[in-house]
Every structure is written in structure tokens, then in C-alpha cells.
Subunit: 523 residues, 2 copies
């Protein structure tokens, strides 16, 4: 029985893989350049092979948390309404925001590398799972090294720690690659059946080891001339984009120099290289979820009054004591609603995206970086006395953050539209039935944020009220968005082609109606 | 083109659903009692219908974060090494731990209800997504109401707030059900083709509204006699188990009283009711990921020394300043490794589980509740001066927490073994090839924790060293676990059946060897 079971389970695992593949294919028709009809050639003796799905989901969760939490030190910086302290606090705040952005960037770079690695290694076993956990442990430690660097920019300890971490991560990843190539049944089918596996292995190792080697040099230079180390580290982060730009310039200048085999395209830094859509979604979900709940953390910890204080100051009336915290509850619900709805827009968008490219992933990262700043903005809005100059500024900062978070989401769609036959579902393509509706969904937050920003500038006395009004009305706007879009289209038609029949009578055949030009709706 | 695309996309979405179903089936042969071969009867006009997969993943992420974060107020309670303050601090700590456990329980109850609801509603549209977000917002607010209740047990405001939230959640869920039943294409196929949809609807509404109605009474009683409200709330939480126990007793006492139709089984509280395995995994992943990263949050926020202090106290030597934090880094890596490896065990276990039942879900919740306590335990271990009485206690508490977290994981497997043909893969069933290895994996942490606990009792002077030794050796133990199991089995055979041939020569046919009895390996 044991032997039979054994082959059974391999069948089962392979079947699962295949099914997942076919599921992914229907989702993303061209997300992979590999032929998928080939069944694994080697089926024996790999009893402990597992689908890597859950390992990747867990890694995504860890990385998204780490990318986002560095906003906490920023949010917890007490900004006093005191002119004298203001400058030093602002300097501190700027440093911390820089740390947050740098961490977000470096962590997402590490995450992209992780995706790329596990697009090659599609099955795992216990050993790979443990190696991956070790890798994750070091990635979660990176934010701390950044904090050290930002607080002590002239001390080389931060640089050394960072470089040490990156080098160890590189070694672990190299180990993972070597291990996986020694057990080819863990690999992607394309590589599994390929004849020059060792060539692939070397190419991947070369790409992976580039970063640790640069970090090694950075750590050596830090002893001699530490400013150079920072330059090197900046190069490391932007390496993919730099190398891409160099390649592009070279190919434009002297034509195609080197002939990369078509099959090699999978481990490049091309902006249209496919990025596992499921993982982009999982990572985004993690960031949105953390950001939505960051404020409740603070509320639960700080906003439960001390019984003794309540007794003494409020004569035992808990209601009176809690009224002081009113603005913070409002900030919580406002923040949750905003993040939730931005998630909703993201969700609607990715529902119709069939393939994610590196460039779309980059735009998504920018959008998420701004969303990570939301808790800070909301915390600021309730920290200052009402109608103070600071409150106005905080509200305007919130509007700016919401605007950019939304506009980058819109940018993802616009980029996808450029190559719509590959990346978008027919439904939301130009002329598709949901095209205008999707545009309205994506444009709602940027427009509202922009409008609120200008209103608060003009009517600065009512800034807080306008902001709260926005918070409350936007969720309802989403509920009636479909109606609004229809009314908007009818109005547009009335203005541009008033001789056509009334749209209400042809609501069921609205296909043609939705083919309005792109521009008039945007502006 | 528009019209064609439209029918295309419906095809596409339905196809996706079917594929997901078939994938789930191969994973969990009997996780659902519904016939799955029926194709949706109603395909037209539902252009905005979406698979609910990502919405559920996001909900899982939110709920898992909320369930876990209430450990933060516990962890941030400063425990002074001061005998006088000790009692008041301990009281505070106990209150906060109670809040944490209550929150964890209530949030997981809400989560289980959410799973049950979305096992009926399998597709969503924009309106349902927004309603679900509103529901999530209120769920994330529940921990705060608990904090209020725990801090001001005699004030009814906490009860009223809690009941208010639960009632609104109930109303939203009822709205979701009514909305979904008014658009039957959103429902489960079983219900979609059923003739008495209104009967199903009423049954589900009855089950859902039970909790808000009890909360309504609790809030009314709170004005008269608030102790009664607490009793009512406790009943609400344990309602599923109470109603199950009552039913069971009645059926034992007077035989089968009421004939529930077989099709009704899907909305019961039976312990063997299937629970969506994917969502159990997603929820667990969220908890593990948050717990693994909680400590780095604190480290990034608190353990970056102030440049002025470094200059004054350490003569500008950052290395010297950071040495003070040494124990905290150790605690971080120790905690990350422990949580990561417990996740690894969980992952290995659920890889071979084909169907999750309510009872297994409950055991999983208990395990997760202990895992949520880990950051607290680790924080305590580095907070006290070494070799103090408190440090010893903190280390023992850590061992106890690890022990229980591990033992409940083992319990999941044992429960699964009772009904192994339904819930387990043949691979890890009794007599299966991986059976003993899985047992060793699951038993490793409880055994090590227990061993460490007793060692620290005996050699109390070396407690910290023993604990650190455990932290460092366990990851390596996992790496060589397969070897250890093989050696252990060989030894067992040597002891119990010394007349059999040497196992090393038959390593490839170890099927029979793994059929050792269950007991000798456990003890």
C-alpha cells in the first residue's frame, strides 16, 4: 500500500500543479513564455515535493508588513505646536520619512527578486522552505539597518550591517538556486526539459550575485571613504533600471549587440517582463490590510483612559472622558474607509488585468508607498487644535497623499491600455463595456482629493469640515458610481451629439454609448 | 464587438470558477457536500460578477491582524523589577491578557461566521464588496470595545458599544444575504438550482440574526443589571458549542427529535462541518506573519539610540551603544525563528490535510492564540537582569507558550487521524510513508519546550543559556529531522525486533519499517 500511495501522492501533487497552471493560464493567457503542455519528465523519488503556493503567500505577507511598518516611527513622532522645536522636529520627521521610503523601495526590490527566483523554482521541499525562512528573517531585519544609517549617517556600522545582511541573503539565494538545480524536478518545466541547464544556472547565479558583490565593495569602501558606499548602495537599488537603460541606449546606438537567446528573456529586467499577478495582489493586500489597521493599534493602546484619571478629572463619567478622543475615532473610520476603498479600486482594476508587467509592478509599488503614508496623514489631522495652521497643512498633506495613491493606480491602467491586448481583459479595453466605468472608479479618488485640496485652500476656515465631508461622501459615491457614470455619459452625449436619440431608451444596448472618446471624460 | 466580449467575459469568469472548484476538489475530495457538476443555469446580465477569492483573502488578512494586535498593549506594559508595584502591574497584565484572549476568541468567531456566509455566496459584485468592507471596519473596532470593558468593567458604555457594533454587523450581514438572494447567480450552485431558495434564505437569516438579537437583549439588560449582560455575551460567544451540546444531549436522551433535511447540513455548527481550508491557511499565515514581525517593529522604534546620548554616554561609539541592545536582537531572531518554524510545521501539516473541519479549525485557533503570545514571552525574556527570578519565570512562560502552540498543532493531526480517510492524504495516514516523519515534525517543538522547561527548573542558574541553546539548535534539528527519524526507527527496531535484518540495507523499501506502532514513538 505504501508504494502505491507514494506514486499516488506524486500524481496528486503534479495534478495540482497542472491545474493551478491551467487556472493561471485562463487568468493570464500570456503571463509565461513557457510551453505548459509538457508533463514533468521525472516523477520518481520526489515524495516530499510540495507546491510553493503557500510559502510564497507567507513570504508576501511578511514582506508587505515589513515594507509598511517603518511608517510607525514616523507616525509616532510627536509634533508639538511649538515654533522653537519645530525645525528640529521637522528634520527628524524628514529623516524618518526618508527611512520609510528607502525601506519601502529596498524591500520591494528584494520582493521582486524573490518573485523572479520563484518563477524559476516552482516546487519546493522542506529544505528550500527552511532556506527561504532564513532569507525572510534577514529581509525583515533590513529596516533596522536603515534606521541606523539615517540616524548616524557618518557612522559606518549601519552600512556594514546592511551590506552584511544583503550578502548573507545573496548567499542563501545562491544556495537555493544550487540546491534547486541539483534537484531539477523542483524547477520550471521549461528548464527541466532544457538541455543546457547549467547555462541557466550560471545566468541566474550571475544575476543574483551581482547585488551582494556590489555590497561587498560598498562595505570595503566604507572604511576608506564612506560617501562612496552610499553611492554604491544607491546603484544597487536602481541597478535593474540602470542596466536596462544602458542596454536600451546601447541597442539604440549601435543596434542589437549581443544575441540573447529567446528563452533567456525570463531573467531580465525588461519593463514588460511578466510579474506573477497573484503575488502582486497578495503583496498589495498585505500592505492595504496593515495600513487599514495601523490606526486601531494606536487607538487600542493609547485611547483607553486610566480609571483613576476618569474618576478624578471627569467625576467618573466615562462618556465625558471618551469625548476627548472623538477626533481619533473619526480619523480611524476615515482612514479605514479611504484605505478600504482604495483597495476596492485596486481589486476592481486587477480583476480585469490579465498579465502584470514589471513596469506595472513599479507603479503599483509607488501607489502602495503613498498608501503606507496615509496613517501618518490621518494621525496628523487629529493631532492639532482645530482651525490651526498645522491642521490645515495636515489636511492638505492627506489630500496630496490620497491623490498620488490614486493617480498611480490610474497610471497602472493607462500603462496596461498601451498594450491592452496582452494585459487587459476585453471588458475594460478601449471601447469595452466597462471601460468608462473603470475609468470613473480609478479617477474618483484623485479628483475628489484634488477638489478637496483646492477647496481647503480657498475656504481655509472650513478645512476640517470639508475633509470630513469628503470622508463621508466618497463611500456613497462609489455605491452610486454606476448611476453617475450613466448620467455623465448622457450629459456628454447631450452636449456633443444632441441629435442622437435619448440614451435611456437604449440602456440595454449601451455598447456604442460607452465608446465615447477617452479625453472628454478625463478632463 | 462589445456584445461578444461581454458573453466572453462571463464565460471566462464562470470557467475560472469551475477551474477553482475542480482544483479545490482534487485538494479536498469531500470538503463540500454540493454536487459540482452542475453548470450555472443563469448566465446573462451579470457582467459585474466577480470571483470572491481576493475579497476573502483581504478579509482574512484584516481579521488575522486584528486578532493578533491586542497582544501589543500586553507586551508594552512595563514590568518593573519592583516588589511593591508588582501586584498592581500583575493585575493590569492579567486584565490585558484577558482582553487579548477574549478579542482573539470573538474575532475568530466572527471570522468563522464570515467563512460560513461566503461558502453560500460564492461570487460577489461591487455592492457586496463594499458591504463586506463596512462589516470589516466594524470588526476591526471590536478590540477597542473589549479594552473599554476590561478597564471599566462596571461601566456599561463598553457593553453598549460592543453590542452596537455586533448589531450593526448583523444587520450588514443580513443585508448581504438578502442582496445575494435577490441575485441568485451570486450564490452557491446548490442553492441556485434549489427550488426552495426562500427556505434557505430564512434559515441563514435566522442563524445570522441570533447573535445581534442576543446582543440587543444584553444591551437592554445592561441598564438594569449589567452582570447579566456579561453572562449573555459569554453565551453569544459560546453559542455554537452550547447549541451543539444541547442538540447532542437531546438526541442521546430521546433519540432523533427533529428531522433536518440533509441539504440543511451546510449551515449548522456541527464539529465536522467543513471549513474552507484555503481560508484557514490564509488566516493562519496572517497571524504567523504579524507575530513574526511584531518584535522588529519595537526594535526599529525603540532601539535606535539618540545621537546625543551616544555622544555623551559612549563617547561617540555606536558599537558600544548598540551592545546594550544585544539581548533584544537575540530575542528578535529567536522569536522569528520559532514563529517561522512553527509556521513551517503548520504548513507541512496542512499540505497533507485534505479537508478542514470546524473542530480542527477550533484547535488551530487555540494554537494561534498561543503563538500570538510569543512576542510577549520573548519581550519578557530580555527585559529582566540575567539570572534574576523574573528572567527564569519569563523563560519558563516562553517554554509553556511554545509547548501549547505545538501541542495544539499536534492535536489537529490527531483529530484528523480519527477520520483519516476523509481529512488526510494517504501519505500521512497511519501506515503511510510520511506518517512517522510528520509525527516527529509535530512533536519536535512540544518535546523541546518541555525538555527546556524542566532543565531550567533543575539548572535554574543556567536558564538563559539553555533557552538560547534551544533557539539555536531547533532550526538545525529540523534540517536533520529526516535523518533523526530514520535513526530513531532503526533503534526502535533494534530494541523491539532485534532478529530482523539491518534496516540500512532496506532503506529504499522502508514502507514496512514506518509501520511502527504509534505509541513507542510518542513516548
Amino acid at each position: 500500500m505504501g508504494e502505491n500511495d507514494d506514486s499516488d501522492i506524486i500524481e496528486h501533487h503534479v495534478e495540482e500543479e497542472m491545474e493551478k497552471k491551467s487556472g493561471a493560464r485562463s487568468h493570464a493567457p500570456s503571463s509565461s513564455s513557457f510551453p505548459e503542455s509538457i508533463s514533468p519528465s521525472d516523477r520518481e523519488g520526489h515524495s516530499s515535493t510540495q507546491s510553493s503556493h503557500r510559502l510564497l503567500a507567507y513570504s508576501d505577507a511578511l514582506i508587505s508588513i515589513i515594507a509598511t511598518v517603518m511608517i510607525l516611527p514616523v507616525a509616532h513622532t510627536k509634533v508639538e505646536d511649538n515654533e522653537e522645536l519645530r525645525e528640529s522636529v521637522q528634520l527628524l520627521l524628514t529623516t524618518k520619512i526618508a527611512v520609510y521610503l528607502m525601506t519601502f523601495l529596498i524591500v520591494t526590490v528584494a520582493w521582486a527578486a524573490h518573485i523572479r527566483l520563484f518563477q524559476v523554482i516552482v516546487r519546493i521541499d522542506d529544505c528550500l522552505a527552511l532556506l527561504n525562512l532564513a532569507c525572510m528573517m534577514l529581509i525583515t531585519f533590513l529596516p533596522y539597518t536603515f534606521s541606523l544609517m539615517a540616524t548616524f549617517p557618518e557612522n559606518i556600522l549601519g552600512i556594514l550591517l546592511f551590506c552584511g545582511c544583503v550578502m548573507v541573503i545573496g548567499v542563501i539565494q545562491a544556495l537555493i538556486v544550487v540546491y534547486a538545480f541539483s534537484r531539477p524536478f523542483l524547477l520550471n518545466e521549461q528548464i527541466q526539459i532544457s538541455e543546457n541547464q547549467s547555462f541557466y544556472k550560471q545566468h541566474i547565479l550571475k544575476v543574483i550575485m551581482r547585488v551582494p558583490i556590489m555590497c561587498f565593495f560598498a562595505s570595503i569602501f566604507s572604511f576608506i571613504f564612506f560617501q562612496l558606499s552610499y553611492v554604491l548602495l544607491a546603484i544597487v537599488i536602481f541597478l535593474p533600471y540602470i542596466s536596462e537603460a544602458v542596454k536600451w541606449c546601447r541597442s539604440k546606438a549601435i543596434g542589437q549587440v549581443e544575441e540573447t537567446p529567446d528563452s533567456m528573456l525570463f531573467y531580465t529586467y525588461l519593463p514588460n517582463e511578466p510579474l506573477n499577478k497573484e503575488r502582486v495582489e497578495a503583496f498589495s493586500d498585505g500592505v492595504y490590510a496593515i495600513v487599514a489597521t495601523l490606526l486601531i493599534l494606536d487607538i487600542c493602546e493609547d485611547n483607553v483612559p486610566d480609571p483613576a484619571v476618569v474618576q478624578k478629572k471627569y467625576g467618573g463619567s466615562l462618556t465625558a472622558a471618551l469625548q476627548d478622543y472623538g477626533p481619533e475615532y473619526l480619523a480611524y473610520f476615515g482612514s479605514f474607509a479611504t484605505v478600504g476603498l482604495l483597495w476596492f479600486v485596486h481589486h476592481s482594476l486587477f480583476l480585469h488585468v490579465t498579465k502584470t508587467t514589471r513596469f506595472m509592478g513599479l507603479l503599483n509599488t509607488f501607489s502602495l508607498a503613498f498608501i503606507g503614508g496615509l496613517p501618518l496623514a490621518y494621525q496628523l489631522t487629529h493631532e492639532f487644535p482645530s482651525n490651526s495652521r498645522n491642521e490645515l497643512e495636515a489636511i492638505q498633506i492627506s489630500c496630496v497623499i490620497i491623490f498620488f495613491a490614486g493617480i498611480f493606480q490610474l497610471a497602472i491602467w493607462v500603462v496596461a491600455l498601451y498594450n491592452e491586448h496582452e494585459t487587459l481583459h476585453p471588458y475594460v479595453r478601449y471601447g469595452g463595456r466597462e471601460h468608462v466605468f473603470m475609468l470613473a472608479k480609478l479617477a474618483l479618488y484623485p479628483c475628489v482629493a484634488l477638489g478637496t485640496f483646492f477647496l481647503t485652500c480657498i475656504l481655509s476656515r472650513f478645512s476640517a469640515q470639508i475633509f470630513h465631508l469628503m470622508e463621508i461622501t466618497v463611500p456613497f459615491a462609489f455605491l452610486v458610481l454606476r448611476l453617475l457614470v450613466r448620467i455623465g455619459l448622457a450629459l456628454l452625449r447631450l452636449i456633443f451629439c444632441p441629435d442622437r436619440p435619448d440614451p435611456r431608451s437604449v440602456v440595454d444596448e449601451e455598447v456604442d454609448e460607452t465608446r465615447v472618446p477617452f479625453n472628454p471624460v478625463v478632463t
